[in-house]
Symmetry: C2
Subunit: 430 residues, 2 copies
């Protein structure tokens, strides 16, 4: 089979109209996907996307097209046999790496293509992506990773040994996962734009649905944060995990002061307390707000940032992002680094497509890499799932990983026709 | 005066044909500019560019167009009166920041626009950019910077006090600079693609021209590096500064081992020994290769990375990049941080347009921020200067800062007509 061409779509959903997804730094997101389809001369197509919040999505689409020559024309047998080399090739183009490297628009676009290749491989193997990953040997998994800039922290041999130790238990953990699902938490009640009644009503509903925790946005106004968190804690009781998320609003010293003002509400974590590039800032905050954990990752540019966050003891929770990291290969690298550091991974989700992706990543983590769900849960949010051909199965407050072949982000053709920007039926009427 | 519109150009020079600019990671660069012209209803236009090495330039051009609505329509009196607020606006767009933030394509594009605004302001004031900056009060300078994520390391009040202490000496230092120029070093003899004869011949020529130092690319082959550096040291003698540049080729441990194998050639610095995002890696290398200094910055994504490099004692030399940093405002921030840390700034140049820019930045640094040229020199390379309307004055191994109004990156119309990609006369014949 050969990859014969690609199609891209700039798909945007008008979520800003309902304040869905509003936070202290992003008051008006239109959840969007830079979407790619890999065409082949065989029986399957590959689908991938990267997530943005509106303007700028066109840049990711353009970058996918700039990267396309690296994948179009490839024989899939050769490609699938060494996806580690493919990842180094697509992230190492001698001219394109200048506009990264490994960050921003070019890396977000890389994600969409890398994940489309993985989708194609999983479909070709008639396996869900997580099942495919769980069928790889420890050596095959380690070889997916570019260790050049990681080996000073985590030796690839040590990573392989860890995977080998856990390999005999994979089948048992797959059975447990299939029978019991994977724990989830929700951000749906916590958007900053919601009024008190909505916060209380949606929090109650989240409890009824069985989530293990709820996350609330903070950071715009301290008095209002205290009011909302008091209301939230009153509503959910003392035993449900309450997380907070400042979406980078604060400087380091302000973060420390603000979080300590909220500590009485028993925060399980504070997420993105400051700029995502500030590793040493996160470390200073972590020391000053303990036992509240610092969590970050949805805007951690690449595996290098995670390596340093772990080296500096800056995070108690690693929030891998399925679109910000450069596709499956870099997610695998980051899961291995986090396991090495014994820091739990709680994937970032929500947006559009992230829940579709992370069901696979969390499943692979528990089965093959960390071997446990202890201290782990995956984010979710209740919108836009209907646009996918195979929407996630989320019930009882848990993810039930898909067993349909692929990586689960194929969009419904009618959703593309409606929300393609700006020619789709929705946007062309605006 | 009002900004009425913008024009963009994707300009690429075929430098890969001569191995100009070749290094261990970028063997075939086509030095390129994503170029912007701000049109007004007044007497002046503003010109700015960002530098790339070929493919990917189209993405920076597209990103300039995505950012254009933030600047088009603005009244220049309002704009120039508070360029700090403008910088926060253009780097903080609630949707576009998702595809950064403050890094990669969107930040490179931001640079071009921010610098075009500064060019317009300087032309309107009938001053060279460096003269304009040197005419600002300490408070005006400090107010150009977004301190949100910097203040935990360097307090804006302390930065202002430093500027105030140096203010009385500005006029004297301007006179010294105008009479004696600013020290420079060259990378022209050191490209990895050059053979031995070319290396020796160009090194001799650099000595004749009066440069204080020469930089050689390393990192692809240890035996060849030792051969080339022995040849270089033989040619230039013991007293001329010899710098090396690995362009991110190594992991941390490999960097330490390799640099120690080269130490006998008395390296003034090792530049980009590993991935530009790896602050803690640079710190480990710096500790292990002292007294060889670690230098980096041409791919440091933003002021946050510089803050941490300085906090971690990871660099002995701060190489600000006039295009990678988000324009004049973020350069000013980084100069203030480096002065706070007492680390010399040696601007990255070469490429296309960088020499044009940095003559202004080095001049501002010595006059108003650091107050000295001790340990400082600006990079240069001998190509592509002829494409600018006001080409740099570089002689006697020194920069002689321009006094023509503006920021000096206006391209000659005939150069655009020839090298616009792919419709210009050069490319349309390929």
């Amino acid at each position: 089979m050969r990859i014969t061409g690609i199609t891209t779509n700039d798909v945007r959903f008008p979520t800003s109209l309902q304040s869905d997804g509003s936070d202290a730094m992003h008051p008006d997101p239109d959840y969007s996907a830079a979407y790619v389809t890999l065409h082949t001369d065989g029986a399957h197509e590959g689908h991938g996307l990267t997530f943005t919040i509106g303007r700028g999505n066109e840049l990711c689409v353009a970058a996918i097209e700039s990267l396309a020559p690296i994948v179009v024309g490839r024989d899939t047998d050769d490609l699938f046999a060494d996806l580690g080399s493919f990842w180094r090739a697509i992230t190492g183009d001698s001219q394109l790496r200048w506009v990264g490297p490994h960050k921003g628009v070019i890396h977000l676009a890389t994600t969409a293509i890398v994940n489309a290749v993985w989708d194609l491989r999983a479909r070709s193997a008639d396996q869900a992506l997580w099942q495919l990953l769980c069928s790889l040997s420890p050596t095959e998994i380690v070889d997916l990773v570019d260790w050049t800039y990681l080996a000073d922290y985590c030796d690839p041999g040590a990573a392989r040994e860890r995977l080998e130790e856990l390999a005999p238990g994979r089948a048992g953990r797959i059975a447990t996962l299939t029978a019991g699902g994977y724990p989830a938490y929700t951000t749906t009640p916590g958007w900053l734009g919601y009024d008190d009644d909505t916060l209380v009503e949606l929090s109650r509903r989240a409890l009824d649905e069985g989530f293990v925790g709820i996350k609330y946005k903070v950071g715009a106004d301290l008095a209002r944060d205290r009011h909302r968190l008091a209301l939230a804690r009153d509503t959910i009781g003392a035993d449900v995990l309450l997380m907070t998320d400042a979406n980078q609003r604060w400087g380091v010293n302000q973060a420390i002061a603000w979080v300590n003002e909220l500590a009485e509400f028993d925060l399980h974590w504070i997420e993105e307390p400051t700029h995502p590039d500030d590793v040493l800032g996160h470390a200073a905050i972590a020391r000053a707000v303990a036992p509240v954990r610092v969590a970050t990752g949805e805007m951690a540019a690449n595996q290098l940032v995670f390596k340093q966050l772990l080296q500096a003891d800056a995070i108690g929770i690693a929030q891998i992002d399925s679109c910000r990291l450069g596709g499956v290969n870099e997610v695998v690298a980051t899961l291995l680094l986090a396991a090495h550091a014994d820091v739990p991974v709680c994937p970032h989700a929500g947006g559009v497509g992230l829940c579709q992706y992370v069901q696979h990543l969390a499943a692979f983590d528990v089965v093959a890499v960390s071997g446990t769900t202890e201290g782990r849960m995956t984010e979710t949010a209740n919108h836009l799932h209907e646009h996918f051909v195979e929407s996630i199965d989320l019930h009882g407050g848990r993810y039930w990983p898909s067993t349909a072949p692929g990586y689960s982000v194929e969009l419904r053709p009618e959703s593309i026709a409606e929300f393609e920007f700006a020619t789709g039926s929705y946007w062309s009427h605006r």
